[in-house]
């Protein structure tokens, strides 16, 4: 409990700095933000109204605390172009992104675990070399290009799967799943390569440890030794990678959602960037950073569950 509390307390300064960086975004706009957002033709009334709405007529410190006060109550401001609360826009777009993240993660795990375990167990054989080289190749493929290649093969040439579009799961589960296959596989393949490399490397550290030798000496077969003993001990770095992966995925999905026309959180950011709706961009990147901080918090707590030495402050390697 103390560990979780300490970890929660550490999150507070990070969130405060995240809020300062996000707040600074509008102030990084060269020149007057209200003038840039509205353009040179805006009337003086519209210009003044936007300055008041964004709080630009107040001193900067006052602006920050007033903005922060609203943010903690869930008020991320009003979208400049859509005139609806930014938080509503985000909530509307999150389900598609969450589904895409879960699907991508599943694809990554389904490929990475068998390949990583096989590569570690058959170290130095053709299985190891092939999967290691395939992983390096996988890490080098730009996922948006892979997505386009898959659209050409599976949707344009063969019409096996839809090329784009999104149907909510609650409306039509079958159509939803069909539409999600290509985006999840296109993004998940690259992630599986990263995860596979980490799992292989982490397992190689563990399989040479004394307790594994003892397990083998006591007659335990290879499958039970690896799956029952080595894998759990190799999980800490793998979970770290998975946590980082989710953060990276939120970024990567910006492109996947654009290619497949999925109305998700990433596409909201891209659309807002092009509409110069900086209030929505600001709100969306704040939410993405908070999500990443929370994922990292969950990952740290998971460490302690998997490896009790972390909870007692001794560290995994000691």
């Amino acid at each position: 409990m103390m560990f979780i509390l300490r970890r929660l307390l550490l999150t507070i300064p990070i969130l405060l700095l995240v809020s300062i960086l996000t707040f600074s975004l509008i102030h990084m706009i060269p020149g007057d933000p209200a003038r840039v957002i509205l353009g040179q033709e805006a009337t003086p009334e519209a210009y003044q109204a936007l300055r008041t709405e964004l709080g630009l007529d107040k001193p900067i410190v006052e602006q920050y605390f007033s903005w922060l006060g609203k943010v903690v109550t869930g008020d991320l401001g009003m979208s400049i172009t859509d005139r609806v609360p930014v938080i509503d826009l985000i909530i509307q777009r999150l389900p598609a992104t969450v589904e895409l993240t879960i699907g991508t993660f599943l694809v990554a795990i389904l490929i990475a675990f068998p390949a990583g375990i096989l590569a570690a167990v058959r170290r130095g054989t053709w299985v190891d070399y092939t999967s290691t080289f395939a992983a390096l190749g996988g890490m080098s493929i730009p996922s948006f290009w892979l997505a386009m290649m898959m659209i050409i093969f599976f949707a344009v040439e063969n019409q096996w799967l839809p090329s784009s579009g999104y149907v909510p799961f609650s409306e039509n589960p079958a159509q939803n799943l069909m539409a999600m296959i290509l985006p999840c596989v296109a993004t998940g393949l690259r992630e599986s390569a990263v995860l596979m490399r980490m799992l292989r490397s982490s397992l190689l550290d563990v399989v040479n440890m004394d307790f594994i030798r003892t397990a083998k000496a006591k007659g335990l077969n290879e499958a039970r030794t690896i799956l029952g003993h080595a894998l759990r001990n190799a999980m800490v770095p793998v979970i770290t990678t998975s946590g980082l992966m989710i953060a990276g995925l939120l970024g990567g999905l910006v492109i996947t959602e654009s290619i497949f026309s999925i109305p998700g959180f990433g596409r909201l950011i891209v659309e807002s960037v092009f509409k110069r709706d900086y209030v929505t961009v600001q709100g969306a990147i704040l939410v993405s950073a908070i999500l990443v901080v929370l994922v990292n918090l969950v990952v740290d707590i998971l460490y302690a569950v998997i490896d009790p030495r972390i909870k007692s402050g001794k560290g995994a390697g000691e």
Binding site: P30, P142, W145, M148, V156, I285
Partner: protein
Amino acid sequence: MKTFRKFLRNGLGLIGALIILTLIVVAIFAPQIAPFDPNEQDYSKILLPPGDEHWFGTDDLGRDIFSRVVYGARISIQAALISVGIAMLIGVPIGLLSGYYRGFWDEWIVMRSVDAMQAFPFLILALAISAVLGSGFGNAMLAIGIGFSPAFVRITRGQVLSLRNMEYIQAARSVGVKDARIIFRHILPNAMNPIMIQATLAMASGIIAEASLSYLGLGVQPPTPSWGSMLNHAQSLMSIAPYATFYPGIAIFLVVLGFNLLGDGLQQVLDPRSRK
């Protein structure tokens, strides 16, 4: 020399180095290699499939795709070098000073700011910075460089922490060598190996990030040929000219693979602890 010989024996690292070398040669000699002007439009030759005259075919404006891919190498190599250069210029000095002097600034300002910056999904941060500063290659490089810098702060600081208490540093301090000289003459050269490995791997990510921003329309602006903007343009041609999508993507893949192989090879040679 010994390290270089060890690197030459590392097959995959060598393949990576050869790919990068090819990229550099192609980028330098693009005008000699490309058979056509990359921006020349020929409406009598639109959407020609790959053939003898146009090896990679032509796009919907009649531009030669091979020539555009060749010129795109220039943008990619610049993207790799400039974005990582900016990240190193920001990250390495901060990491050096923070790790050497430690204390409140290191613990609570620098490292917590690094944590905060790493909380932003990289591409979203780069997208937001590009959006604020405006689209274009220079701003995209700045956005990617700023996004990469926390990783360099972290890795440099980690190295300094392990080096600052070594005997040779303490000896230098005890004979009155100034801090700046200790940091830049004695610590930095010994901290360079992991920084160089990180730089090589970051170049791979820099190329993908530039291509991603250009694909979204926030990086290199038309008609300048960049692999990302070529893919953006080719997306609308997927059903009629799939080859227009194929070649720029293969080029990105090969170059990123080259940097990843080189980074892996360097890691095995320069950081033997990582060898498995």
